[in-house]
């Protein structure tokens, strides 16, 4: 009889061989010897003391209240628990294995959002801790209807995700669909929720993001109450909102804090900015190579003059400057902040002015490219602004091929692609072909807040 506990401890030891942050301690208590096993890297010393060490020494009852019994034969399960930051207590005398949840890895504090900052509205953002994130939502929606289901994904990383929804509003068919998709995910490594997002999207090959992602708790709450489903992942700052629509990529939560007039203006800017940014530079190519007649005469003469020194055809010229802009942007975002500033100045001055003077580019093109680069940063969703840059290359190439006709073909492609996209089974272009007439109230024009009580059609919310 006495040998079995030794065996189990030995097995566990074997399993965690060469894991140096696992601590094994023998403690003598009233109920005999107890082996304490835990990961020192996942558990703070204070927590260990208050939860385990002190109760072991003084008050075993407390341990029994807190702890769960674990089947010692299921070694895999035991190790999983260990990995999740639980402390295992092995009572040699009674041959029982108990686990106490002592997970207390250090987390960072709630800070301001840097990626989606707004002038008006709450400034707190999600952190990388699932508990904190859920708490940030729960303190805003104090309702028992707010459910969160935990799942574990990732065959190796064992990451905890949490699906959140309002039980009384959400569409259950959507929910089942999402659960199915998450169940089918088979992928070892989840370093961020974006990885999961790409695995459960409707069309993973599309350049468009099909789920909304944000770090703003207020935004998440808005969507939850609209009947959307939100997914959080431990160790990931972003949260996914699904389903979503193309149009929502241009909606910032700040729109609801601003006056409706300002908000509508900004939305129009963002929405039409997207189409402008993919059209401006291709237009330059089309006009210069194929249809000079569409430009006013005076402008055309200017263009002729500034183009006269440029040795390449417009297509190459545009691709050249667009790539330089991409390089600048990429370099700027990878550099440490202080160096990044220098890059901006170098890029702006050297490439802008010097390239024109050297006769590599025409100065009108610089204006256009700069405008379209700025426009591409208008969507509040960063993924969307990336998409618009990618789409722009398609348009540039097709303009290089057939001018305006090529652009229109590409536009037709874009429209059809958007029309056939789906987000969690709901059409991506939903507001364009409205599911509900009231959707139009909260569209490119945001109506005054008192008209916005309706749930949007996209979430297929339950009727009360």
């Amino acid at each position: 009889m006495n040998k079995i506990p030794e065996q189990i401890v030995a097995k566990i030891k074997q399993e965690i061989d060469k894991v140096d942050d696992v601590k094994l301690k023998m403690v003598a208590t009233e109920e005999g010897d107890v082996t304490v096993i835990y990961f020192s890297s996942l558990i703070e010393k204070m927590t260990l003391q208050t939860m385990v060490t002190i109760p072991l020494a003084n008050n075993l009852k407390q341990i029994h209240q807190m702890a769960q019994y674990v089947d010692p034969k299921d070694i895999q399960g035991v190790v999983k628990k260990l990995n999740a930051g639980q402390t295992l207590l092995f009572f040699h005398e009674v041959n029982a294995l108990l686990s106490v949840d002592t997970y207390s890895a250090p987390t960072r504090a709630i800070t301001d959002t840097e990626t989606e900052s707004t002038v008006i509205g709450p400034q707190d953002a999600f952190t990388e801790s699932l508990e904190t994130n859920i708490s940030l939502v729960r303190r805003r929606i104090q309702s028992s209807m707010l459910k969160n289901e935990n799942h574990i994904v990732g065959s190796e990383t064992n990451i905890k995700i949490s699906i959140m929804y309002m039980e009384n509003i959400v569409s259950h068919s959507n929910l089942d669909d999402l659960r199915n998709r998450i169940d089918q995910v088979d992928y070892p490594l989840f370093t961020d929720i974006s990885v999961l997002k790409q695995l459960i999207e409707d069309n993973p090959l599309s350049p468009f993001p099909q789920y909304y992602m944000t770090v703003r708790p207020d935004s998440i709450c808005r969507y939850l109450l609209d009947g959307r489903i939100v997914i959080f992942m431990d160790n990931s700052q972003l949260a996914i909102v699904c389903p979503t629509s193309f149009f929502e990529m241009f909606v910032s939560i700040e729109d609801y804090y601003n006056r409706w007039t300002t908000a509508s203006l900004l939305r129009m800017l963002r929405f039409f900015g997207f189409f402008l940014t993919i059209m401006i530079t291709p237009m330059y190519i089309s006009a210069l190579t194929f249809h000079p007649e569409i430009l006013p005469y005076e402008l055309l003469l200017n263009l002729q003059e500034s183009r006269s020194k440029v040795p390449f055809p417009p297509l190459i010229e545009v691709l050249f400057i667009e790539l330089i802009i991409e390089v600048l942007r990429e370099a700027g975002s990878r550099m440490p902040a202080k160096v990044g500033q220098t890059i901006g100045i170098v890029g702006g001055i050297v490439i802008g002015t010097a390239a024109v003077e050297a006769g590599l580019l025409s100065n009108i093109l610089i204006v256009l490219v700069a405008t379209s680069a700025l426009l591409s940063f208008l969507p509040p969703i960063f993924l969307m602004s990336n998409t618009s840059r990618f789409i722009r290359y398609i348009f540039i190439l097709s303009a290089g091929l057939f001018g305006l006709f090529g652009q229109m073909l590409a536009f037709a492609w874009l429209i059809h692609h958007l029309l056939s996209l789906k987000s969690l089974g709901t059409h991506y272009m939903t507001p364009a072909i409205p599911r509900k007439p009231t959707d139009l109230l909260d569209n490119v024009i945001r109506f005054p807040t008192k008209y916005l009580k309706n749930k949007s059609g996209i979430s297929k919310a339950q009727k009360k």
């Binding site: 194929f290 249809h291 007649e293 569409i294 430009l295 006013p296 005469y297 402008l299 097709s398 091929l401 057939f402 001018g403 305006l404 006709f405 090529g406 652009q407 229109m408 073909l409 037709a412 492609w413 429209i415 059809h416 029309l419 056939s420 272009m429 364009a432 072909i433």
Partner: protein, 361 residues
């Protein structure tokens, strides 16, 4: 894929399918086609609308007797397997040639305005790729595309503003100034511009609300008719009779009349944007042809090979070294066959009433 999912088309889809298929290249040259009537052509589109309403009624009535069958199956049921199949085969050929005609017409227009001094092989190829992409999404995808097309292109009506300002409304008078010969010539030449609504014979089984299908299609048809009417009315105001006869694509010249300060030639924008309208009508025809091939040859559906073959045939018709004259004749013939398809349901209705007892629906 929505092709096999049963009923997928809601009322907006039905309205705009009928509307978008009708507006193709036809409307561009409608005033020229009707020019035998001179200034009196203004109200011809309205007459066409009446004709279309009547024939559409016959079509929908026939379809409502066979709520789950398209024209291909109806032919087989009503005319017997072999005669029906022969007719179906002819219809498929007709649709292929007709779509090729539309594309070729449009591409030559593009070649002469937007892409001068360039061969159109590549543009046609890219166009067809896009066509395959859209058609393979099934009728619902085409319908959704049609809805968007309408809203993306409808604002080019605004561009005719300058032509209206310059035009002279007195051209409408005297109202009925034509001979019967001119009148029939105009019908013969012009009616094919509004063809397209007959495709309801093929997508009827996919309509959710079949009882109201007629009403919804009528809305679509009359939107198109109204657009045609605007076109002819503005052309009549803006042109002299000589110009009506000679200017082939009068809509283009209407666009030419206007200008913004930053864009001088609206006609180029207009004509390239027209690709949406062309796509929405050609995709519907190709989809029908594909369904025809499906019912005719393949056992298993959901295969895309017929679509590829159809597209290749279209490409060959457009780009093969046939003489331009032969092509023109071919396309003209297919226009007239198009009239036959409009009349065809009436014929089928007669057969249906005769053989009512034998045909089990």
């Amino acid at each position: 894929m929505s092709t096999t999912n049963g009923k997928v088309l809601n009322r907006y889809h039905v309205i705009f399918l009928a509307q978008s298929i009708m507006v193709g290249t036809g409307i561009l040259s409608l005033p020229q086609k009707l020019s035998s009537m001179g200034y009196a052509q203004t109200f011809m589109p309205l007459l066409f609308g009446l004709l279309a309403t009547l024939t559409a009624f016959a079509m929908v009535w026939l379809c409502s007797k066979f709520p789950n069958d398209d024209l291909f199956r109806m032919n087989e049921k009503l005319l017997g397997k072999w005669v029906g199949r022969l007719i179906n085969f002819l219809i498929i050929i007709q649709f292929i040639v007709f779509s090729a005609g539309i594309i070729s017409n449009y591409m030559h227009l593009i070649q002469s305005t937007a892409l001068q001094e360039q061969t159109i092989t590549l543009p046609v190829l890219c166009f067809l790729l896009l066509l395959i992409y859209i058609v393979s999404g099934g009728i619902k995808s085409i319908a959704r595309f049609s809805v968007m097309t309408f809203f993306i292109t409808i604002w080019i009506i605004y561009f005719t503003r300058w032509a209206i300002e310059k035009g002279d409304p007195s051209h409408f008078f005297p109202l009925f100034n034509f001979t019967s010969k001119e009148f029939f010539e105009a019908i013969k030449q012009g009616y094919f511009s509004i063809l397209g609504y007959e495709l309801i014979l093929f997508y009827f089984p996919f309509i959710i609300d079949q009882k109201k299908a007629f009403r919804h299609s009528l809305i679509g048809i009359w939107i198109s008719i109204f657009l045609c009417f605007i076109t002819t009315a503005i052309s009549v105001m803006y042109y002299s009779e000589w110009q009506l006869k000679r200017v082939e694509f009068s809509v283009l010249n209407l666009f030419k009349a206007g200008e913004f300060t930053f864009i001088e030639r609206i006609d180029i924008i207009g004509i390239t944007l027209w690709v949406f309208l062309i796509l929405s009508s050609v995709t519907a025809y190709v989809w029908c042809a594909k369904r025809g091939v499906d019912t005719l040859f393949t056992k298993k559906k959901k295969q895309n090979y017929p679509l590829y073959v159809i597209t290749i045939i279209i490409f060959v018709i457009i780009r093969m070294p046939f003489s331009r004259e032969f092509q023109e004749k071919l396309f003209l013939a297919s226009n007239y066959v198009g009239y036959l398809i409009v009349i065809w349901p009436v014929f089928l209705i007669i057969i249906y009433t005769l053989r009512k007892k034998q045909v089990q629906v």
